[in-house]
């Protein structure tokens, strides 16, 4: 689909399943995903930056998060998300090596991991709201819910897309070493994991 050779006379003989690369040396879907991820970086910059500024730029009192939030269960949740990232790269490796059973297995693991994360976060929200910790509970509540909420929204979108990709994998759409779709959605998945690593530290632990 992409014809992006830089020189008119230097179009190399491209093997059947190898995506072609443009100026930055990556195929189109992956490039598009990276461009999208840079914009996601800026989106989370707005949210995390506001948190940093409101917490450390002004002289207001800030409660100890480890006292309000359930750090233990969230640590487990963090671990689950990291695990789903690992299963995602295993799925990618399986796709590259055309290991179809492996691909299906690891994709399913990833979807289950992601869904578990969302489920646990949902329970956490329910408990917190029940205890009276709300978005309107001062700046801590405001920033907490907006940051983790939008992260959870991203995970949910990821789980839905992953479920779709898994369905396609079961239909054999990635057979023959066609790994591009898996790698591209994987980038998004790892990015969401990466954001959580930062959020877990600065929201729950500091």
């Amino acid at each position: 689909m992409a014809h992006a050779a830089a020189m008119p006379d230097a179009a190399p003989a491209v093997p059947a399943h190898q995506p072609s690369a443009g100026t930055l040396g990556v195929y189109t879907q992956k490039l598009g995903m990276w461009v999208f991820l840079t914009s996601e970086v800026m989106f989370f910059t707005a949210l995390i930056g506001s948190y940093v500024i409101l917490r450390w730029g002004t002289a207001t009192e800030w409660p100890d998060p480890t006292k309000t939030l359930a750090v233990g269960i969230t640590a487990v949740n963090t671990f689950i998300l990291i695990c789903s990232s690992v299963s995602m790269v295993k799925a990618y490796a399986a796709a590259v090596h055309d290991d179809q059973p492996g691909l299906k297995k690891w994709l399913l693991t990833t979807v289950v991991g992601g869904a578990t994360f969302v489920g646990i976060q949902f329970m956490e929200y329910r408990n917190l709201l029940h205890e009276g910790f709300r978005p309107s509970s001062g700046l801590f509540g405001s920033t907490f819910y907006v940051m983790t909420g939008f992260h959870g929204f991203h995970v949910t979108c990821g789980v839905i897309s992953m479920a779709y990709v898994t369905l396609r994998a079961f239909q054999g759409k990635y057979a023959g070493g066609k790994y591009e779709g898996i790698e591209t959605i994987g980038l998004y998945w790892h990015f969401v994991d990466l954001v959580w690593i930062i959020l877990f530290t600065i929201v729950y632990l500091i």
């Binding site: 020189m7 008119p8 189109t28 490039l31 989106f43 506001s50 309107s136 001062g138 907006v146």
Partner: protein, 581 residues
């Protein structure tokens, strides 16, 4: 030059006939999407213009009933007289429609979509279905924006900049649902704009035709590419900021509310961190379009192609570190203000390079004063005024007096109307034949240009004087202030000019609609342009190029001494195999 036939026997363009709804409604063809964007944003342009007329009526004839004003309803205009709250709604929604739903989709949605794949020799965008989503998301975004105008409790009244805490506290503004719709509309708009921009960047990087090196890209594509980079990085900041503004209203958060420990200035910083790159999103594509048209109209290579590209990049980069100049008088740290003043004033340098290079292009040319060229020259002439008045604001101490006065209103309109809109007109006249296969009427076009040019200046130039006299912006009735009363006659003059300015758009509207029914033209390259799009039939088929074109040289090979014609399309070989650029 050879016209590529619509039916391709092999290669990329084996697109079977699609049903009407897939071809013209839920189309993933970048050209159809561009035209959809154009129709939608021209409607918003007209609506924004009508709101401006109501604003000008109140300022020109304060307290007089607006003609047909009773139609607006007693709630917003008792006995036809615009109420103060509705006035603020008009001001806010005029700017919101113009910036987010007219100028930006016209420049980016329309021209980026239409020109990028055609000009780089690509079959379509990198992600055609995302592109379709980018347009269809504009429908809910636009619907929210329209709903907010007539929402219960009044339309948003905090200005398009939505400064907190006025914007997020219904008690202070008297507006509730209107402001919420406004936030939702802009948030959805942000998503739409993001999908489009990701597409443009990926397309330019990966889908250029063989031989289309970076320094063989037309300046319009360069400008649209850099614009897309700005949008990808700036628009998410707006999305984040506006979501927090929304949550302050609906979830009871306190991001911008001092009562809960929040910071009103945080909103301003985030907004302008987006807002200044946004200003360049609104002008860089115009510069690119004008560069292409001026080179074509002058029948000369663009003067200093490389420095034009570097100037674009410099403006885009500096655009990130100047946002504080919107906040000189906000109570920001004066030392920070100094930094922002220095970076801001430096932008004058790359801007000056561009203006002088356009003049250099016209110098010793063979100027074809057709309608697109007239509008392009109009752009240069008017953009200079907007750029120069910017220096007054960039100087922080001078800004202290003219900040938030009509001086800044004049400035923004010289840049956005005199700049962007003239370029948009130029672009529409120029690419209309490619889009629809029909030429717009030249005589009506000239009438449109000259009437617009005169009434436009009569409307906006006196605003500088209002500003110097201290006339604040966004005030419902200047006569409350003793020192503004002598300006009433000037305000009336401006208003009458503004009505004539709207009237001057009638030839354009008629021309645009009427030309759709004119006979099809046979000439596929009426402007004798070098761009790849002019090697295709008009309108080009779905999938554009049957086989990828091979690009052999830069886009501005006009009037070469060694060619008989005064142009040389990019896929035609240079005489004697000379390698240029």
């Amino acid at each position: 030059m050879t016209a590529t036939t619509a039916q391709a026997s092999h290669g990329h363009a084996h697109h079977e006939e699609l049903p009407f709804i897939r071809k013209y409604v839920f189309s993933s063809d970048h050209k159809i999407i561009a035209i959809q964007f154009m129709f939608l944003s021209l409607l918003f342009l007209l609506l924004g213009g009508l709101l401006a007329m109501a604003v000008r009526w109140q300022l020109g004839f304060p307290g007089q009933p607006l003609p047909f004003g009773r139609l607006l309803g007693e709630g917003v205009a008792p006995s036809g007289v615009i109420a103060p709250k509705f006035y603020l709604g008009l001001v806010t929604m005029h700017a919101t429609y113009m910036i987010f739903f007219a100028i930006m989709p016209l420049l980016v949605g329309t021209f980026a979509n239409y020109l990028i794949p055609l000009k780089i020799g690509a079959p379509d965008m990198a992600f055609p279905r995302l592109n379709m989503w980018s347009f269809w998301l504009m429908i809910p975004a636009g619907t929210f924006a329209l709903l907010s105008l007539y929402a219960e409790g009044g339309s948003p009244a905090a200005g398009w900049t939505g400064y907190a805490p006025l914007s997020n506290t219904p008690v202070y503004s008297g507006v509730s649902t209107g402001q919420i719709y406004w936030c939702l509309g802009i948030a959805v708009f942000a998503l739409s704009s993001l999908l489009g921009s990701v597409n443009y960047i990926t397309t330019v990087i990966n889908l250029r035709a063989p031989g289309m090196h970076w320094f063989r890209l037309p300046l319009s594509v360069w400008a649209l590419f850099i614009t897309a980079i700005l949008a990808v990085l700036a628009v998410p900041i707006l999305a984040g900021a506006i979501i927090m503004l929304l949550f302050d209203q609906v979830l009871g958060t306190h991001f911008y509310l001092p009562s809960g420990g929040g910071q009103p200035l945080l909103w301003q910083h985030l907004f302008w961190f987006f807002g200044h790159p946004e200003v360049y999103i609104l002008i860089l594509p115009a510069m690119g379009i004008v560069s292409d048209i001026i080179a074509n109209g002058s029948r000369k290579p663009i003067f200093g192609y490389h420095s034009m590209v570097y100037a674009l990049c410099t403006i885009a980069f500096l655009g990130w570190v100047v946002w504080g100049h919107h906040m000189f008088q906000s109570g920001m740290n004066p030392t920070l203000g100094t930094t922002f003043m220095a970076s801001t004033i430096l932008i004058a340098v790359p801007t000056a390079i561009k203006v002088f290079n356009w003049m250099g292009t016209m110098w010793r040319g063979n100027l074809q004063l057709h309608v697109p060229m007239l509008n392009a020259i109009g752009f240069v002439a008017m953009f200079v005024i907007g750029g120069l008045s910017g220096i007054f604001m960039a100087s922080a101490p001078v800004d202290m007096y003219i900040h938030d006065t009509y001086f800044i209103v004049a400035h923004i309109h010289y840049v956005l109307f005199g700049g962007s809109l003239f370029a948009i007109f130029a672009g529409i006249y120029f690419w209309y034949p490619k889009m629809f296969g029909r030429q717009m009427d030249e005589t009506l076009g000239k009438w449109h240009f000259w009437l617009t040019f005169v009434t436009y200046n009569a409307t906006f130039f006196p605003m500088h004087i209002l500003g110097v006299a201290g006339h604040m912006r966004r005030i419902y009735d200047p006569n409350t202030y003793e020192f503004l009363r002598p300006l009433q006659s000037l305000n009336t003059f401006i208003s009458v000019s503004a009505f004539l300015l709207l009237g001057s758009q009638l030839p354009f509207m008629w021309n645009f609609v009427r030309s759709l029914a004119r006979p099809k033209m046979t000439d596929i390259n009426p402007w004798r342009d070098n761009g790849l799009e002019w090697t295709l039939p008009s309108p080009p088929p779905h999938g554009n190029y049957a086989t990828p074109p091979i690009v052999l040289h830069g886009p501005y090979e006009y009037s070469r001494p060694d060619t008989a014609e005064d142009f040389l399309p990019q896929d035609q070989p240079l005489p004697a195999h000379q390698e240029t650029r």
